[in-house]
Symmetry: C2
Subunit: 211 residues, 2 copies
């Protein structure tokens, strides 16, 4: 995904010039930390390729997955935190090999002022993140763990564009904020129900599990 493909920038190529000329491109391999919890942020990461996984970490080390940032999107929390001179309350890691363009806040300040298309972009991404977060709240508050596991597997299958995903129960448990045994137990149940087929380090989603 190149920046040219971001819908708001198509009519304003000068935005892209500004981003590329002042931004710093950086690559990360799977699992690498991009933004640490409690890190001070002074630039905004725009995903060029790959994917960023955004987690919230509790004071006592428990984590939970918030959402993924896909190519063409940016980490809006980084954006806002930097504007408000705040510290990040989230942890962002690379999901697969990922290339990120870090845009300094000084550039953002200029773009805010001079390019309405940039604002359209920011507001669109913000809405998306916010909406995602609301879904997370809803899921944690009202859904049972088996539903949440299935939803998570479905999402990963869709992202991988492959009915088989490669992940351990432990990793899934961390993302969902629960314990490994719980995930193993429920996945086994789902296998008995014909929703998935399990293997070491992999989960295959069957047609029945698609809906």
């Amino acid at each position: 995904m190149e920046l040219q493909n971001i819908q708001e920038f198509k009519t304003a190529p000068s935005i892209i010039d500004k981003l590329l000329s002042t931004g710093l491109e950086k690559s990360f391999s799977n699992g690498e930390i991009i933004i640490n919890e409690n890190a001070f942020i002074n630039s905004i990461p725009i995903v060029k390729s790959g994917c960023i996984k955004v987690m919230r970490t509790d004071d006592d080390g428990k984590e939970i997955l918030l959402y993924y940032i896909k190519p063409g999107d940016c980490c809006i929390m980084g954006f806002l935190g930097s504007l408000n001179d705040q510290i990040s309350r989230i942890k962002a890691t690379a999901e697969g090999d990922t290339t990120v363009l870090f845009v300094p806040v000084t550039t953002v300040a200029i773009l805010n002022r001079e390019h309405p298309e940039w604002l359209d972009y920011i507001f669109r991404i913000y809405y998306k993140c916010y909406d995602n977060l609301l879904e997370v709240v809803n899921a944690i508050a009202f859904k049972k763990m088996d539903e949440r596991i299935l939803a998570s597997v479905r999402q990963k299958v869709e992202m991988a564009q492959n009915d088989t995903i490669f992940i351990t129960h432990e990793q899934l448990a961390i993302e969902l904020g629960t314990a490994r045994v719980v995930v193993s137990r429920l996945l086994k149940q789902m296998e008995d129900d014909g929703l998935v087929i399990l293997g070491r380090n992999k989960i295959k989603l069957l047609e029945k599990g698609l809906l």
Copy 2:
């Protein structure tokens, strides 16, 4: 709270003029619905006095409290939803007598373009809401119900600036997305532990409950 007191507007009184000349002021009494779930939004509510309570409603009618919008703040989700021609996924009601200035999206579009101070305002509020939501996620995911009840009571005590709040267990239960019996049970436990004193329709927070 008059708009003059919003920090970003102090150096840009023309924003206030624009808001007042195009906005529509409306008053609500306690509990009245300001934005309905699934309502289409075409204006942004800025709270002048009182307070707006923002809840998320599940498909099957279950609710959970997201946050409060206090005087000088605005409902950012309404803002974004309107920009993206989206439908509201939240329900906003008046918490006590509340006066709201509804600013049409057309005005917002102009302000975005012409007044950097307006953007500063929007971004500040946005950050605040986002941060609030993250705290909600954290609470639901990792805190036990008794902690959440106590936190809720503390928040209400602070907002009321009075150690006694007037609320039924049922109302508290709805806000926390649980059942009334659960709240009654845990509150009673908290009373036994000397954290609160209970009465019909009221909860008094004791010093021991403050920390």
